[in-house]
């Protein structure tokens, strides 16, 4: 029996068995990857498939304007004498009944929040995000400037970094609890008001030349409380992203400006911030993505299911009083609206349009922001290469 001679050629192709193994392993890993993508795609597809018909119509202007210009209201479903199933909003139904007193109405059902449109929740979410971004960008950029430009290694800085890292991991519902206890319940935040509430702790101070007071009576369930809760939540993300964009500005810029005699602040203002601005913009979009989709923090700090008017229409008084009243109103919010119609109403086909329509709009908005941030970041990284 001839003995098999061991191969001496180091460049000989590897055995085909190993190649097959390699191939199979790669395919398995690829399957995992593409399965995840397929799941995500299916969710997008399903929501688009059911949601898009609610938003678009076959006639001009091709967009269901009512869905974007009206606030949610009660939906009425009934069958008329001919046995046709008819659905209409409560206000239309009242008019319809007055105009056609003889029409037979059978099997009348009403569904709260399922008629009308989503103007109120959209505006509410926009205002919440606005308040949140104003506050968190201000604090976030300042904190990032400190961490990147001033801070030297020390106990304080490492404590700050540790705190930021841990804040990032706090569950959103805990932020909600904190916001509820701190911003809503604690009776020490000031408001401008004409009527002093009994809960005022520190006291109310009359403002000269007006009938109003500056009263420290707390904010309650309000736009301001919700926006600030979201701001606290967005802070770790924004600080991290801003710091990254500040760090990306080359040290030479700072050295050159300092060498020319600029003070530290002049250096930051003229030689660092302008070049970090696109990065900060990206950071803010990232922050919006993080907070706009959140429901838990605003559930008991800001959101209500039912509100007939927009916050600015509802606010009383003028000037600073109007502004203060507007900020301390509770608002509708899109995620909370979705929660209400999908979890707190019984399963019924009549509600599905509202459900899929609002979910589709919400998904498009949030994912749109996320895509913007990804694109911006990619462009910014490609563009700025020193």
């Amino acid at each position: 029996m001839p003995e098999e001679t061991p191969s001496t050629n180091p460049f000989q192709a590897t055995s085909s068995k190993r190649k097959v193994k390699d191939r199979i392993g790669t395919v398995i890993f690829a399957c995992f990857t593409y399965f995840v993508l397929a799941c995500a795609l299916f969710i997008f597809g399903k929501i688009t498939y059911d949601g898009a018909p609610v938003l678009f119509t076959s006639e001009a202007p091709f967009i269901n304007t009512k869905f974007f210009t009206e606030s949610p209201q009660t939906l009425v479903e009934f069958t008329n004498g001919a046995g046709e199933l008819i659905r209409m909003d409560q206000t239309d139904f009242t008019v319809f009944k007055e105009e056609n007193p003889d029409v037979t109405i059978n099997d009348e059902h009403t569904f709260s929040y399922s008629g009308g449109g989503i103007a109120g929740p959209l505006v509410g979410t926009a205002l919440l995000v606005l308040v949140c971004m104003v506050v968190s960008l201000f604090i976030g950029v300042a904190a990032a400037i400190y961490l990147s430009e001033y801070a030297k290694k020390g106990k304080l800085v490492s404590a700050i970094r540790l705190a930021i890292m841990n804040l990032a991991g706090v569950p959103s519902i805990v932020y909600g609890l904190f916001g509820f206890a701190f911003f809503c319940l604690a009776p020490w935040f000031p408001v401008f008001t004409y009527e002093v509430n009994a809960e005022t702790t520190i006291g109310a101070f009359k403002i000269p030349l007006t009938d109003g007071y500056l009263s420290f009576q707390g904010w309650g369930n309000s736009l301001l409380a919700g926006g600030l809760t979201l701001a606290v939540m967005a802070l770790p993300v924004i600080i991290a992203a801003c710091e990254e964009s500040l760090k990306a500005v080359p040290g030479g810029f700072r050295e050159a400006s300092l060498a020319l005699g600029a003070t530290r602040w002049q250096c930051i203002r003229t030689a660092v911030l302008p070049y970090a601005a696109p990065g900060i913009l990206t950071a803010s979009v990232l922050g919006v993505t993080r907070v706009a989709g959140e429901t838990a923090p605003i559930m008991f700090t800001a959101a209500v299911a039912d509100k007939a008017k927009m916050p600015w229409q509802d606010a009383q008084g003028s000037g600073v009083f109007w502004f203060s009243d507007m900020l301390t109103q509770s608002v509708q919010a899109l995620p909370y609206h979705i929660y209400t119609v999908s979890a707190r109403l019984p399963a019924h086909e009549a509600i599905n349009d509202m459900r899929y329509g609002s979910v589709f709009v919400f998904l498009i908005l949030v994912v749109g922001f996320a895509m913007t941030s990804v694109v911006l970041r990619a462009r910014y990284r490609n563009k700025l290469k020193w």
């Binding site: 841990n166 805990v174 459900r355």
Partner: protein, 637 residues
Amino acid sequence: MAKHFQRKGRRFLGVNLQGWIRGFFGGNAALSIVILFLICAFLVKEAAMFFPQHHRGLELYRKTGQEYVGHLIKEVDEYTILVSATNQAYYQELDAGYGAQRGVVDSSGGIMDALEDEGDDLIGELEDALDDFEDEPDDPEIAAAYKKAQENWKAFARETIAGLDRKEVDSFGRLEGHDGQWEALKEAMVDWDPVEGDPTPFVAKAKAEMAAGMSEFDAARIELGSAGNTLKDLKNKLVAEASQIKKEAVEDMSAAARKAAILEGSKKLATEEERIAAVAEAEKIVIRESFPFAEKTAAFGESFEAHESAANELKEKLVAAVAKLPSDFKSQAAAELIVGVKERTPDFIEKLDESVEEASQWKWDAPLGFWGSTMKFFFGRDWVTNSSWHDFYGLLPLITGSLLISLIALAVAIPFSIGAAIYVNRLASRYEQTFIKPAIEMIQAIPSVVLGFFGIMVLGEGLRELSQIGALSWVPGFPMQERLNIINAGLLLALMAVPTIFTLCEDALNNVPRSYSEASLALGASKLQTVTKVVVPTAISGILAAVLLGLGRIIGETMVVLLVAGNKIAIPDFGEGLGVIAQPAHTMTGIIAQEMGEVSAGTLHFRALFLVGLVLFTISLMINVAAQRIIKRLGHA
């Protein structure tokens, strides 16, 4: 010389402008520490006040004897589960064996109702005619009138029955596929006598058949249902007594405060007479040094024996009744239910003995340590709120639900996310990398409420339909009863965790020095071998940290579990093994979101929710710290 370079500028409080600017930025940065501190402070403040309040509540629960009666309530509840399972089986079997007969009996009732509703006037006429006829049976005119009334009725009945909607009469569809029976029933009901109201022979026959066929089962079922009557009566009596004692005790505790309030209010009254009346009213309130719990609860101590004998009676009768339950069934569901009842009976008896034993240990003045009441929170098995009996705050069902859902989500997410990270980082082509990475990161942007919505509308129904397929019945938990359950929530959370774990994992793989993999490849290892034997082991600390951070994200997630987990506050039944995943559960995050909006500040319930929040906060903080430690300690390069 150095003076030239010295910065000039106004100083305020000994700090120049640059110092102030620096201080401003530093202050903003330090805000993060302040916020973290405030979060801790507010959670701890409310949570800390929970324990004394909770302790007082539990003390009262013991002193009023409710604790003792609570044992009986549990016993009766457990027993009721057995009874209702048996009854359910009985009706399943009835439908399977005598569906047509049951349909006939039910539908005849429906037809009778319809006839009585619509033929009210005719029945009146018929009755009058009958009365007259009975008074004077020989009068031919009256006899003719009676006959006429009968004919009228029959004509009406025939017409009405012909016009009936079959679906409405036979609302459960029991007569579907039994058209002959339906026609026969319609025919038979025409002859029904509305004055006497007795069922027609046809219906009576169906009833008799049903009763004859099911007599054995029916007797056993009724025997089983009445086995616990003594215990139930005792429970009801004691519940009423304990509730009364509690009411008195609570009133007693507030007596001093009420008296003070009336006296205070009386000073503001206008007339002297009103004031005197108010003072007299206040004097009526008796303030006792202490409430006579011993005296009031003496009856409970004496009922130990009655309790034991009632329990023994229940045991004997239950065993006898269970033995009489049939073992051959036409209905598969009935067979399963009865097997379940038979299997659970010994457990129930064992538990009953334990409970009776435990109940007899009760003493109204047995000291309840602070430790004991604390443990009642962390290991309490009930979370019951807004109850007229007693509110329980036990974390165990919530934490079990949270952990179970998280572990399932993690188990699903780990292979997918790590697999995807390895693929993208090491195996995929350049082109694939450019779109897979952002696409997976995009999943992170899907709002959790949208995922929850998807779980309710699509995944829940899909999973249930999938579980009905016979070929898949070997999968644990299949077929599912509920749409909203642990596995549904787990799968959605897994999708949420994938981007987190994927991104961090990919970073970890990126940090593996190139030379490692190059060395491995140079030695002749294949690409896959390099990945599994060199790259992954090197990056294992980063991967572990990624998994931990993914767990942190899952466990703190609120909306998905609130919408999809089923929100049933009970420890899932692990008796089914892996089938536990098809049960509904509640979670720590879900309970806060669900109940926080409905409680008023400062109540025990409010504080309990904050305490749950604190537990959640602590868990996520620990996970975070652990992940950071791992990266620090095991970190390479």
